[in-house]
């Protein structure tokens, strides 16, 4: 859970940083997209590195989901008869929404790939013109809404996930105390803000 979570986390951070290229204009963004396909082509051929990353991510997601389902099934088996009266005590909102938040993120990723990778659900939908795909999509308010819900779910997921994964990996010092919580919170907020900056910049006409 922790290992696959960290693989996905590092990808999500890199993806967010890459998205910010859109603020440098159409040429910069499109050439960045071409570079993603071309990187490492001397060794693995055109899109070779890209496909390697995709396969690693897919395997990570599947293992991550398998572990989550196993945990949920064990949790259900460990408490067949629930409490009649039970308010939440300490666990934060992020910790309580890990499972359903994960489901939202998984559904979103499918939509996201169909929207901006394959282009089927995109109003522009030309894979070679990512800048126009992004800007035409985010001019629709409902597309921005879908992205907002998903990114907020991702932020909450990362908020609990990063901190929890540090504990699962047995880092006693790093995961102890208020510093670890603060770092996880700052990382989650920065990630959320970075991702949401793109659709809202397009929606409000800051990127055209």
């Amino acid at each position: 859970m922790a290992v696959t979570g960290f693989i996905l986390f590092f990808y999500v951070v890199a993806h967010m940083v890459g998205n910010l290229k859109i603020f440098f204009g159409e040429t910069a963004f499109d050439s960045y997209a071409r570079w993603l396909r071309a990187m490492g082509s001397a060794v693995l051929g055109e899109s070779g590195v890209l496909w390697t990353i995709r396969i690693v991510l897919l395997v990570s997601v599947l293992l991550h989901m398998t572990a989550a389902i196993q945990l949920a099934r064990r949790a259900r088996a460990a408490r067949p008869s629930g409490y009649r009266h039970r308010p939440p005590v300490q666990g934060g909102y992020a910790a309580r929404t890990m499972r359903w938040g994960g489901v939202i993120i998984a559904l979103f990723v499918i939509y996201h790939v169909l929207d901006l990778t394959v282009g089927w659900l995109n109003p522009h939908g030309v894979p070679e013109e990512p800048f126009l795909n992004v800007t035409s999509g985010f001019q629709q308010w409902w597309v921005v809404l879908i992205y907002t819900v998903a990114i907020l779910a991702l932020g909450l997921h990362v908020r609990h996930g990063v901190w929890s994964a540090l504990r699962s990996l047995g880092t006693v010092r790093a995961s102890h105390g208020p510093l670890a919580r603060t770092v996880a919170l700052v990382v989650a907020v920065a990630l959320t803000a970075g991702y949401l900056s793109v659709p809202y910049a397009v929606l409000f006409g800051l990127v055209e």
Binding site: A77, G91, R96, G170, T171, V172
Partner: protein
């Protein structure tokens, strides 16, 4: 003070169980929660009804026998306090209080509020011990222990095994309990020889007993009457990972 107490009544493991409402008046704010139940039971006995069964022993907060889920919170509203040390002044006159047993598959209800916590004994049996030479007591200074290690081990050794961590965990996991034992013993030189096998064996016994997996929600440490920190679980994970990497074997057959 006067309370409406809704208590879980269950005649045995076969019975489905139900919440039954009782009015308890003439309660002193200085009574402990268990003494309030004693008052209720006296009146039930006088009326010829079956008293409410609940576990208790020392009533000093150190034995780990008592443990009730009060208004959905293990050991009730006061932090770092066992049920026996919780006083009725923590409640408001006229309150309705819901009292339920610990709920977890490895803790079957014996009767009313009494659950069988034998599953925790199985976890301890798997590795909660140190190898000592029998005979005369060793010389006190023969094994020096650094102050920091002694303090940390003592913090974890404060666990009284009441099971509140399991009761509070949304996953029904006993990781805080198991982690406290592993951290307590592994931190001391006396417990070092079995450190690897202890972590692996106790984790295996924990899972085998039917407890759920830990997802670091932190509900356990919030209700722990002895304040065992969540960091013990990180220490436990570290011991398990290290032992797995070293290829430490499990229990000898």
């Amino acid at each position: 003070m006067r309370f409406t107490v809704r208590v879980w009544r269950q005649t045995g493991s076969e019975d489905a169980g139900r919440l039954v409402e009782y009015d308890v008046d003439d309660v002193s704010p200085d009574m402990s929660f268990l003494e309030m139940l004693d008052v209720l039971n006296e009146r039930l006995t006088l009326r010829g009804e079956e008293p409410v069964a609940f576990d208790h022993d020392c009533r000093e907060g150190i034995c780990g026998m008592c443990g009730l889920t009060i208004n959905g919170v293990a050991h009730g509203p006061r932090r770092a306090t066992t049920t026996c040390q919780l006083h009725m002044r923590e409640f408001t006159d006229g309150d309705t209080i819901v009292v339920e047993p610990w709920r977890a598959a490895p803790f079957p209800v014996v009767r009313d509020l009494v659950v069988d916590r034998g599953a925790l004994d199985e976890v301890v049996r798997a590795g909660g011990y140190v190898s000592v030479s029998t005979g005369s007591a060793p010389e006190a200074h023969a094994t020096p222990v650094a102050r920091a290690d002694a303090d940390k081990a003592f913090e974890s050794a404060a666990c009284i095994g009441c099971g509140a961590c399991v009761a509070a965990c949304p996953n029904g996991s006993a990781m805080l309990f198991t982690a406290a034992k592993v951290t307590h013993l592994g931190r001391l030189p006396q417990g070092a020889p079995e450190r690897d096998t202890r972590a692996l064996d106790m984790l295996a016994a924990h899972d085998e007993a039917g407890f759920g997996g830990c997802t670091n929600t932190g509900e356990c440490t919030a209700v722990c009457p002895k304040g065992i920190p969540l960091a013990d679980i990180a220490q436990f994970n570290q011991d398990v990972l290290r032992a797995s990497l070293r290829g430490a074997g499990g229990r000898p057959a």
